[in-house]
Structure formats: C-alpha cells, structure tokens
Symmetry: C2
Subunit: 357 residues, 2 copies
C-alpha cells in the first residue's frame, strides 16, 4: 500500500484539517463529531442542505460545502457511514430556522443513520427531510445493497438543491426538487484497478492485467460483469447504453413522513430518456485516472448522445466522486429543464466547484 498518509486512523481528520486550512474563506472544520461546515453558518432564514457519507470519495462531500451548495458535510471513516451524532450536530450547527434537507446516498448504513438523526432532530423541533439518491444503473439484482446505490447524481442534487435553498425554496419545495433530480439522473461506472482502504492495507478486489469491472460501486462493490479491457470509445458506449436504455425504474423508497414522524415506503419511478431531452453530463474520474483520459470519454459521450437525439447542455468533467486511488470512470446523465438549468448555473463557491463568484 503506497499512500501519502500518516496513520491510517488519522486520515479523515488530517485531511479535513488540511481542507479547512486551505479554504478558510469558505469552510470550517470541527472534530468529534467530524463536520465540515460553511464559514458563515448558520445562514438565517434559509433551509440548510446537509449531506454526508463515507470518506474516500473526495471531493464528495466535504469539497461541496460552501455558498450555493452544502451547509455542512458529515464525513464518515473511509467507506463508512457517518454516525447519527455527526448528522444531528451538523443540523444543530447550521440550520437557519427553516429546516434541514439531508441528501442521502442509498447505502443501508447511511439510510439508517440519517433516519435516526431525523427522528431526533424532529423531536427537537428542527424540521427535517431526508431524500435518497439511488441512481446507479450498474446494480442489477442488488448484489451488495438494497436497490440501486447512490453515486454521481448526488453531486448534481447537492448543487441544484444548494442553489434552490439559497434562492429561498422552503423545505417542502426543496424536498420535491431533490426527488426530481434523483428521478432524472442515472449513473454507471467501470474500474480498471482496485483501491486499498488504508486500515485494511490490501486491495478491495483483484482485477487481471487485461480486465475491467463493469458496473463497479464506489466502494469497490462488484459490478454486473467482468470483461476484457476495451477502448475508451467502447467503454463509453457500454456505459452510455446502460444509462440511456434504462427504462422507467419503479421502486419503493423509504421516505420521511413529517406528519407521522416516521419513514414510509413510497413508490417512485425514474423518468426514461426521450429524443429531444436536454442533459447535464458528468464524466467522473475514480481518483487514479488522468484528466486527459476523461476528456476522451467525454468526446465519445457527446457523439453517442447526439446520435440518440439528446443534447448535452451542461457538463462536468473531472474527479468528483472518487474511490480513493481507483482507476476508472463513471458517467452521470441528468435530464434538465429550465428550473434545473437555472439552479445549476447559480453561483457556487466551494473548494471543489466554483463559478459565478
């Protein structure tokens, strides 16, 4: 294992400290429980937007805290859910009197812990909505999680909901907006190499010299197929076909019900793509892949979308949802409308995403 770290158990804390030192005008860090929060929090009279999840996916989520995006992020240990006390403390610190939207990736630990936090916060009188992101079409039959995993669409939901919160949306409208983004987003990834969780010290999985894992999870969860490594163009076609051909996906998702103060399974259905749709496209590096390669993928993705009658109107190419030093990439497509596009373009100032300010 070759990493630029000190003790594996200090990785999250030291990285958070460095992040806060490097961006003192944007964020602050606090420890035990570990939280990265906006330097100007709490922002009064605004719904607070919070996310969190295991570390090792940087810049997600800590790099997305700041004006126009998250109010706080709760980083768990590497590939480990944040604890309820982190989430509760973050909400207490940053809520500005209009409630809290938690954007939660669909992993059982995250779902459970955000649920516990929401119950306690609601009892304290802090209105709370949890919305799950479950956009990973690489999950077929749900190998290691319940339903689809939450991956790249999370970044888009955090940007768009952060902008909407800044623009005055109330909690209920914000909750609906976040559902909308999730229902319009789909992602899939492939890996060329494994990654090593520092406290374990050995690669999460083994992959042959000429193999790739198709449908990989961001924690190294196995994909739906192991294939011989093919060209960038062929990889782009495999991923984009899986995304574009994914039809209406109907499922029951635990949904926080404010009236009863508990979770209720609610049926939701993803919206399939239609010719004429306008898309946001993200080509995401897994951490160990050069930027030049991601642009090769993007080039082909634009061609594939054009052929399908889809227009890419916004793009993000780079490392946004990583898996430590894994080589590979994922593609996320989100169907846009005027509302989503305006919110996407809204100024944002975070360590990892910044424009307009």
């Amino acid at each position: 294992m070759k990493k630029l770290i000190n003790k594996p158990e200090d990785l999250v804390r030291e990285s958070m400290a460095g992040l806060a030192l490097a961006h003192p005008d944007i964020i602050k860090a606090r420890f035990d429980p570990n939280i990265i929060y906006r330097a100007d929090a709490p922002v009064e009279n605004k719904v607070a937007v919070i996310s969190g999840g295991g570390s090792g996916h940087e810049p997600m989520h800590t790099g997305f805290v700041g004006q126009g995006m998250l109010d706080a992020a709760c980083p768990g240990e590497v590939f480990t859910s944040p604890t309820p006390d982190q989430i509760i403390e973050a909400a207490r610190m940053v809520h500005g009197g209009r409630g809290v939207l938690n954007i939660v990736k669909n992993y059982s630990g995250d779902v459970m812990n955000f649920q516990m936090a929401a119950e306690i916060l609601s009892a304290e009188g802090i209105a709370c909505a949890n919305v799950l992101i479950d956009d990973d079409v690489g999950v077929r039959g749900g190998v290691s999680t319940q339903g689809r995993r939450g991956v790249g669409t999370t970044v888009v939901a955090e940007k768009i909901c952060g902008a909407a919160a800044e623009g005055g949306y109330d909690l209920e409208r914000l909750e609906q907006l976040c559902y909308k983004v999730n229902l319009r987003g789909r992602s899939m990834g492939i890996a060329l190499s494994s990654c090593t969780v520092p406290v374990r010290g050995i690669p999460t999985f083994e992959l042959g010299d000429r193999e790739m894992e198709v449908g990989i999870g961001i924690h190294g969860e196995p994909g739906y197929e192991r294939q011989p490594l093919v060209t960038a163009d062929a990889i782009t076609e495999i991923i984009s076909r899986a995304i574009l051909e994914d039809m209406a996906y109907k499922r029951l998702v635990p949904t926080w019900d404010k009236a009863s103060g508990s979770w209720v399974d609610k049926e939701i259905t993803s919206e399939p793509y239609q010719p004429g749709d306008r898309l946001l496209a993200m080509v995401n590096g897994m951490g160990g892949t050069p930027l030049a390669e991601l642009y090769i993928i993007y080039r082909k993705l634009e061609e594939v979308c054009q052929k399908a009658g889809l227009e890419i109107v916004r793009r993000l190419v780079g490392n946004y949802v990583t898996s430590l030093e894994m080589q590979g990439c994922s593609i996320t497509l989100v169907k846009m409308d005027d509302e989503l596009r305006q919110l996407w373009d809204f100024p944002v100032k975070t360590p990892a995403l910044r424009w307009g300010v």
Copy 2:
C-alpha cells in the same frame, strides 16, 4: 498498460476534442497543428499569453486557456515538446496587436522550439518575448536537463501574467513580471509510482513496493535520491525543507533580446525566503493521488511554513501539473507581494481554474 484511451497515437487529439466540446463557452480546438485557444480570440489591444509543452500534464497547459489566463496552449505529443509551427500558428491566431508572451518550461526541446518560433514571428513583425520557468529544486547537478526544470511555478506564472495582460500590461512589463514570478517560485516533487507513456506501453521507471523517488521530474526523470517510503508528514518536511533552504540560485538563462533579434544568456538569481515572507502554496497531485491525501500534505505544509515564520496567503490544492497516472505530489511556493496577490485574485475562467466570474 491500463488506460481509458483508443489508439495511443490519437490520445492528444481526442483529448483536445473532448476538452473543446466540454467547454464551448471558453475555448476552441484546432488541429494540424494542434492548438487550444480562447473562444473569443484574438482579444484586441492585449498582449497574448501563450504556453505549451508536452501533453500528459493535464490540466497544464490546455486547461488554463481562457479569460484571465492563457490565450492559447500548444500541446505536444505526450511528454514531447510542441513544434515551432504550432507555436507560430498559435501566435498568429491569437495575437491582438500588442505582442506575445511565451511562457516556456526549461526543457531543451521546448527552449529550442520556442526560440525558433520567436525568431520567425519577430521577422513577421509580431513582437515576441520568451520567458523560461526553471523552478525545480529537485534537480541537483542537472541530471537530464540543462539547469533546473520548469514545473509548478509555470501555473502561477500563467495565472498572474494572464491577469496582467488582461489588465493592460504591455509586453515589456509582462516579461519583467514573468521573470519576477519565476525568481520567486520553487517546486519539488516525489513519486510513489511510475507512469506509462502510451506509445511505449511500459512504465518509465521501476520503483520498489516500499520506495519513493525524491526530486522526481514530471516526465519521470530520476530524482536526486531514492528513499524508503515515509509518512505524509515526513514527505512534506523533506520537500518543504528542500524548497525553503534553497538559497539564491544564480544561473545563466537564454533570454530573448528584441534589439538583436536573438537569444542572449542573462544572469538571473532566485530570491531566497525570509521570515515574514507571504507565500502562495500549491500542493499538486501527480495524477494518480487522491485529493484527500493532498490535503493531508497541505495541513503539514502550513505547519512547516508557520514554524519558519512564513505566512501562506493563497493556496491551490489539486491536480494541476500531472504526469499521467503517476502517484505522488509536488509542492510549489511563490513569494508574493501586493502586485502578485492582486493579479492572482483577478477573475479567471478556464476549464481548470475559475473564480470571480
């Protein structure tokens, strides 16, 4: 070799095409010769700032083209100098009537080709100044290049000179400014792994499971020492000590002399650091290193600088000067003054660096 590419010989062109497709509001691409240039070029009544060098270091230089930074970048093949015709064509396309500043990294091929281009452009009546960046203190005794190599300070010079050009500096003042940045900047890198140039297909060098290369070059040039891998904190101390203890470095550098229309060796001397200095610090990933690890390095760097009585006033943490998928990092420090700081803060809108707009 595992890469997200098609044919190795198409890498540069396809990656450029993807970059241009992903950032249509900022840049355009043209091919044969290969140039990335500002979408709004030529900008009249402004000195054009151009850079270039081998590909494989993305986002440098193509990702730094745009408002407030470069007018054009000339990407060579992977780890290969751009050709004179690329540089000449770029200058012809983007110059706005007030001359061209070429920011050149100190590698013999780059120096030679920018020289040939400047001679021809000057003969055409396009005023041209070439300024070399030679900031790599990892070169001791000049193993594989003449003098010190140009690395991280190049990014800072491109940002600051791009802002100054936008702000109305004439060519002579801009040339002096670029010298100033170079004399105030120092860098050094370490590698935990090698990288593979696609057309070669085998790693540039071999490194043991528990080894690191100290003073590594961005093309995999050997460093000054191979050591057992140590902690992130110890690595930060090794690099920052090498930078901070580097004294006045006197050398002859080829300098373009407009009067005679030829290169003249000019003596230049780097400025050593003094307690009380205010610094810009860049912690740069080599391409295969997770962002979380770079922030661990930054955390320690801030501590080391504080102890030395130096104040970091501006920072950049991320992948800016990469070496394909190499694991490792480099640190760049540049002594700032009010002029440099104001120019650093000037709005910039490029694919890889953006703020204020």
